[in-house]
């Protein structure tokens, strides 16, 4: 970056700094609130398409004098992968990822500021990220506007290859606007832009190309991604309180990036408490759809067919359908010294993935490119206990 040239990034930082100073001395006085003090202990699980990921996540949050709230999260992914990407070119592997986060939230009048740091480590990947956000209530607290900036620095390694090490730099800009529409309806609009620069592909994954010298008719070679990516996502969400005590959720999100992926998702949800039993039930349906990246192909015509090549199924054209449900049981926990109440929660999602241009190469005996299209189902589980104090 040419530092003598005023960039939007520098302007953004200067403006954020200005906002902090202005809000710090603006004398606004009506109190917004910090997030409630709570601790969550969760077991999470993902199973589908030959991939199994599970582990714990512990989140602790504690506030001081209604001004400051600190939080910490410890999260582990234990991965066993025999997904189609893995078994087509390698053998099953196991991996562990540990993620640690620390955050500090500060409330001044109607202005909320948050700062956080996250570190994630696995045998072949290290990630560090920082986030700063600020939001402000306006117009009799009917409107909340927030902006945030995050920066990430990753190091990518390749197990078994001590000479391989690459860097990735990531920057994220976000704007959130939440608006009270009526006494029964809230709407939230969100924009998030992300820029990446560096090594952006998986160092193990390979592309498939036609090769008449191979008995099966095709060969594999390492994929090559562009070294930059810029994306923007916009979302609108709404919550509506029904004439009885229940709520409807709606979400629409639109996405596009410089790799040629366009995507959208729609989600509908319903939340229904049964007060007599201390239960809250939740149901949802989600549809997601995306186009393929410009440099994606299931089968390239020859080796080194183009400068950028990918066969990651995440960059293929596909759609997913999700049906999810959850149940929460709340109980009084004042018998525990220092605690107010608690809850036991179970949420499960069933996701069906159907690919439009990613073929199942485990089906042998067929001409290259004539294999059936791939699809799989997965189940996502969150079981957690929460305590409020």
């Amino acid at each position: 970056m040419n530092i003598s040239q005023p960039s939007a990034f520098r302007l953004l930082l200067q403006t954020l700094f200005g906002v902090i100073l202005l809000t710090a001395f603006s004398g606004v006085s009506v109190a917004a609130v910090l997030p409630e003090d709570r601790s969550d202990i969760m077991y999470h699980g993902y199973e589908g398409g030959g991939l199994q990921v599970d582990g714990p996540s512990v989140l602790v949050r504690k506030g001081y004098k209604d001004k400051v709230s600190v939080w910490a999260n410890y999260y582990v992914d234990m991965i066993t992968s025999a997904s189609i990407d893995v078994v087509s070119t390698a053998s099953e592997y196991t991996e562990e990822r540990k993620e640690k986060s620390l955050g500090l939230d500060y409330l001044h009048g109607k202005t909320f500021m948050g700062l956080s740091y996250t570190n994630s480590e696995e045998s072949d990947y290290s990630a560090h990220s920082w986030r700063f956000g600020i939001s402000q209530d306006f117009f009799g607290d009917l409107t909340t506007l927030g902006v945030s900036y995050a920066r990430g620095a990753d190091t990518v390694r390749r197990n078994g290859d001590l000479n391989f090490e690459e860097e990735t730099d990531r920057q994220t800009y976000r704007v959130d606007l939440t608006q009270v529409i009526t006494k029964n309806m809230l709407v939230s609009m969100n924009y998030e832009g992300v820029t990446d620069e560096g090594f952006l592909n998986n160092p193990y994954r390979q592309v498939r190309y036609l090769d008449p010298n191979e008995a099966r008719g095709y060969g594999y070679e390492l994929e090559v991604y562009p070294r930059t990516r810029t994306s923007s996502a916009q979302a609108i969400r709404a919550m509506y309180f029904l004439p009885y005590r229940a709520a409807l959720k709606f979400e629409f999100r639109n996405y596009s990036d410089t790799w040629g992926i366009d995507a959208y998702n729609v989600e509908l949800g319903y939340v229904h408490p049964i007060e007599r039993y201390g239960l809250t039930l939740e149901l949802k349906y989600r549809h997601y759809e995306q186009t393929a990246a410009d440099f994606y192909s299931d089968l390239f015509p020859r080796s080194n067919a183009q400068n950028f090549m990918a066969r990651d199924k995440e960059l293929a054209a596909f759609q997913t359908q999700t049906i999810g449900g959850g149940i929460t049981y709340e109980f009084n926990a004042d018998w525990l010294p220092g605690f107010k109440r608690g809850s036991v929660n179970l949420f499960m999602d069933y996701i069906d993935f159907q690919y439009d241009d990613f073929r199942d190469v485990t089906r042998t005996g067929l001409a290259p490119g004539a294999e059936p299209l791939y699809g799989f189902d997965s189940v996502v589980t969150r079981f957690f206990v929460s305590f409020y104090y």
Binding site: S7, F9, S26, Q171, V194
Partner: protein, 87 residues
């Protein structure tokens, strides 16, 4: 596209919103007096926990992580965006 031009492009989109935030926060837009059309005593339903966009941050952050790992799209997920900070 270089990182600089990428940031420039995204940053420019955000500047009007940030400018508005700065203006409002400083009281510089105080002439824009708008009377709240939903009074504080009418906000019982809105304050109900079932009306939260993201009731349980630990579970929401995990689901965002699942989506980001399996899907090409990223960003503008629900909740505050600050969440647990995981990507």
């Amino acid at each position: 596209m270089t990182l600089f031009t990428s940031i420039n492009s995204v940053g420019k989109k955000l500047l009007p919103a940030i400018g508005l935030l700065a203006c409002l926060a400083s009281g510089g837009c105080s002439s824009m007096e708008i009377k709240p059309w939903v009074s504080p005593f009418e906000r019982n339903n809105l304050a109900d926990p079932i009306m939260s966009f993201s009731r349980d941050p630990v579970a929401a952050a995990y689901l965002h992580h699942v989506y980001q790992a399996r899907e090409g799209a990223r960003g503008a997920e629900g909740g505050s965006g600050g969440g647990c900070g995981c990507n």
